[in-house]
């Protein structure tokens, strides 16, 4: 719409405008909050997350803000500690999936031919495979546990990035400066690294940011199906699972679910904000 806006100042202005949006402010608050929690919780948590501190199955109160669980442990403490379990692993999954996806996609897009065929058919197979079933099969195959569940999610997740990157590479490859670089004899890896990937970086980052929240959900789903973290580790999905056994004590499952909600919404907003920042068309809406 604002075709007339000068190119140079447009981005700066947009950046300022984006920052003022309430959704991004919310995202910033939420993400900073959880980052602080996961870094500092051990210094201020009211109780030990593994110790029995009161009667079991007590509803939320002034003493136990989120109530107590089936073993009389403080749920507030456990949900806060849960950030240490749930968030780093989700971030790690995304980093690994992005790395694998980028390499595979770039190689496929750049070289084309049979390399492209093999990589992309593999991606097709993994994407046509029902996602949750694939994650379950892989993590059952490897044995339960958070590390194997994370590997399973990476297996499900990388093909999406591979496709994205391949598409970008195919477009970028035909641009003049890249073709010029190839013509003057720049090495393949140099062309990919110096010219192609930097341009593909933005969409990857935008997607990866929003995806962190989705990975938190999928990891918690695997925990719910008993394939993630083992007790007594207070991972959010595992907390919901133990809460699901206590139907009338809604607070046990409630609090960790809300924690997941804030994280997912936060990263969603952040992803949107990034998209708006880099994609002029969407920013105008």
């Amino acid at each position: 719409m604002n075709v007339a806006a000068p190119v140079g100042t447009g981005r700066v202005k947009r950046f300022a405008a984006t920052l003022r949006r309430p959704s991004l402010a919310f995202a910033a608050v939420v993400i900073v909050f959880w980052l602080l929690v996961l870094l500092t919780v051990q210094w201020w948590a009211p109780y030990d997350p593994f110790e029995e501190v009161g009667r079991r199955l007590q509803p939320p109160s002034g003493t136990y803000w989120f109530g107590t669980d089936e073993l009389g442990r403080d749920l507030f403490t456990r949900v806060m500690y849960g950030a240490r379990e749930s968030l780093p692993i989700a971030a790690a999954v995304i980093v690994v999936a992005v790395t694998i996806g980028t390499v595979m996609g770039a190689v496929a897009g750049y070289f084309g031919g049979w390399v492209d065929s093999i990589v992309m058919r593999l991606a097709d197979v993994l994407m046509a495979f029902p996602a949750l079933l694939l994650a379950m099969v892989v993590s059952v195959g490897l044995g339960p546990g958070p590390r194997n569940a994370a590997i399973a999610v990476v297996v499900v997740w990388w093909p999406g990035y591979a496709r994205l990157v391949r598409g970008q590479v195919l477009t970028i490859r035909t641009r003049e400066h890249v073709e010029a670089a190839i013509t003057i004899g720049a090495g393949r890896s140099r062309v990919i690294g110096k010219h192609v990937l930097p341009m593909a970086f933005t969409p990857i980052m935008v997607n990866a940011t929003s995806d962190i929240g989705q990975v938190v959900i999928v990891m918690s789903s695997l925990s719910f199906l008993g394939l993630g973290t083992a007790p007594p580790v207070p991972e959010w999905g595992a907390l919901i699972t133990s809460g699901s056994k206590f139907f009338f004590q809604w607070w046990i499952a409630g609090a960790p679910g809300l924690a997941i909600l804030t994280v997912v919404v936060g990263f969603n907003f952040l992803g949107d904000g990034l998209r708006d920042l880099f994609d002029r068309r969407s920013a105008d809406r």
């Binding site: 199955l57 073993l71 339960p144 546990g145 008993g226 007790p231 133990s242 206590f246």
Partner: protein, 550 residues
């Protein structure tokens, strides 16, 4: 002894029973012939709905091996004798009207009731007894061991069966009251229709696919008319039953595991009996009008296996360490956390209430003693050990909760327990490779005599300590005294004298602490007030043939 794995698919989905029509017509066809055998009159048209975790994986009576199996068998099949629910040491007539044993407890003679008939009208004869026992023994199934050492069954006439064993087997009269493996099935029907076989190799017959359609071949007051894996099983009144007709037109057992759902169905009248309500909801259940919640004493127990023969179990090799673990566990807290207090501690792997257990000392937490034992064993600094376990809820005990409690308790003697919950098949797999040094297992009795427990858990040559398959090459250290005492007990006809020997054997098992009993949970029944349940049935948990008759 259903230790653990009756693992088919738990919680497996299945479309609700549409095979019913087919199955009904099948049974009708099997019934054939005249229908004037005096049926009709007995019983109401009431349809009973029972909610529980349906852990069935087959309906073949000689392959069955699970808790729901016992309940189903109690209504559909009959045994030679019945254990008196009000006094498990007393036997009542079943298909047999009288029985006797020879002097050295190797031969048992049963006289069958001449009136007894199967649901298709054919008489129950000694040939059916022979066929059923031999099939069970050759099935290599869960319950085959109950007939281990069977030398043969003689059938001098249609009404007399003589069951012979290679070695003295004094508990056999009680074993004969077990529902699993010892139910008598219609041999003619099964050989012709289901292509069932009885000799060696019976385990290769595919009769279970015939049963999978929702069929049965028993002589009990009900017949199976429909079955959907992990969803529901429906029994209907056997109108040709040879005894007193059943009081209910049908009994449906439906899959249900969450407490709230079962409570609400009891409240709305959608169900008559709920068996998987947690003790945490017991008070709520009792407030529903016309509904009673009763916690009955059971013979079930949950125990810890400390398999020091398994890789990784070296730290447990010293009996002192195992005893320290026994003293470190806070049983009261464990029973409070898992059963809201509805359970009892138990001395060792012989159920409370079994003859011989009365004078054994019950375990209790004694941290000083535990620490002292650890120090004596040279393990004052503790160690770390992995505990792989089946994440299940058994007898109302949630294993996740239980293991986290034990983990806390063992921290106090510096044992770092690393919990590794797994699904059933993985756990059984690990058990069978004997690579779990530390794991909880569950156990329900099949007959009321301590011999089974010593043979299975005790330091004797027949036992693998309940550890699963022995490690290849590993030889368990057996106890010569225990060995001799057990042999003596097995040949003794006198129950009181046997009990005394069982006490001695129990003490040896406590000293060894290879198996530590954790809790003997009560069983919670939530029922309509007009269908009272007074006893946990010794043969069958819930005896359907007695339901509504007391």
């Amino acid at each position: 002894m259903r230790s653990g794995p009756v693992l088919g698919s738990r919680r497996r989905a299945a479309r609700a029973a549409i095979g019913a029509l087919v199955a009904v017509s099948m049974v009708a066809a099997c019934g054939g012939g005249d229908d004037n055998s005096g049926g009709g009159g007995g019983g109401s048209s009431r349809e009973i709905v029972i909610l529980r975790d349906t852990d069935l994986s087959t309906l073949d009576p000689h392959r069955m091996w699970c808790d729901t199996c016992m309940i189903v068998l109690s209504g559909v099949y009959e045994r030679l004798v019945n254990v008196d629910p009000s006094n498990p040491n007393n036997l009542l007539p079943g298909l047999a009207t009288s029985w006797s044993a020879n002097a050295d407890s190797t031969e048992f003679t049963f006289t069958l009731d001449p009136k007894a008939t199967f649901a298709d009208g054919s008489p129950v004869t000694s040939a059916d007894v022979k066929w059923s026992f031999e099939r069970s023994a050759n099935m290599n199934a869960g319950g085959s061991f109950l007939l281990a050492g069977l030398a043969g069954v003689d059938t001098p006439d249609a009404a007399t069966a003589v069951v012979k064993f290679e070695k003295p087997n004094s508990p056999f009269l009680k074993i004969a009251g077990a529902a699993l493996a010892l139910s008598i099935a219609n041999s003619k029907l099964l050989t012709t229709e289901a292509k069932a076989t009885t000799g060696p190799g019976a385990d290769k017959d595919e009769a279970d696919t015939w049963f999978a359609e929702g069929r049965s071949a028993g002589s009990g007051p009900y017949t199976i008319t429909s079955y959907t894996t992990d969803q529901s099983i429906v029994l209907e009144r056997n109108e040709k039953y040879w005894g007193t007709k059943a009081p209910f037109a049908s009994i449906a057992i439906k899959e249900a595991t969450d407490s709230a759902g079962q409570l609400l169905q009891m409240q709305s009248g959608d169900a008559d009996i709920a068996m998987n309500i947690s003790f945490d909801s017991m008070a709520e259940a009792d407030t529903i009008e016309g509904v009673d919640a009763v916690a009955l004493d059971s013979f079930n127990f949950i125990h810890l296996n400390l398999n020091h023969y398994a890789p990784g179990g070296e730290e447990l090799a010293d009996a002192k360490v195992r005893q320290a673990i026994r003293y470190a566990i806070d049983y009261d807290k464990l029973i409070e956390a898992t059963l809201a207090g509805n359970g009892r501690v138990q001395a060792t792997a012989i159920p409370n209430g079994f003859p011989g257990t009365e004078s054994l000392e019950l375990p209790a937490r004694d941290l000083d003693k535990a620490k002292q034992l650890m120090a004596d064993a040279g393990k004052a600094d503790g160690f770390s050990i992995e505990a792989q376990y089946f994440k299940a809820n058994v007898y109302g005990v949630d294993f996740d909760t239980m293991m986290q409690r034990i983990q806390q308790d063992l921290k106090d003697i510096d044992i770092d327990l690393q919990l590794k919950p797994v699904d059933g098949p993985q756990w059984v797999d690990a058990m069978s490779a004997t690579d779990i040094p530390f794991t909880p297992v569950y156990f329900a009795p099949d007959y009321i005599d301590a011999a089974e427990y010593i043979q299975y858990f005790g330091p004797v040559s027949t036992s693998n300590r309940g550890f699963g398959v022995p490690v290849p090459g590993a030889t368990y250290e057996n106890d010569a005294t225990a060995e001799a005492t057990l042999a003596e007990a097995l040949a003794l006809g006198d129950a009181a004298a046997r009990a005394k020997l069982y006490t001695e054997l129990g003490q040896i098992m406590i000293d060894q602490s290879e198996v530590i009993a954790l809790v003997n949970p009560k069983t919670l029944f939530v029922t309509k007030s007009d269908i009272p349940i007074k006893y946990l049935s010794p043969c069958c948990i819930l005896d359907l043939s007695r339901l509504g008759t007391e």
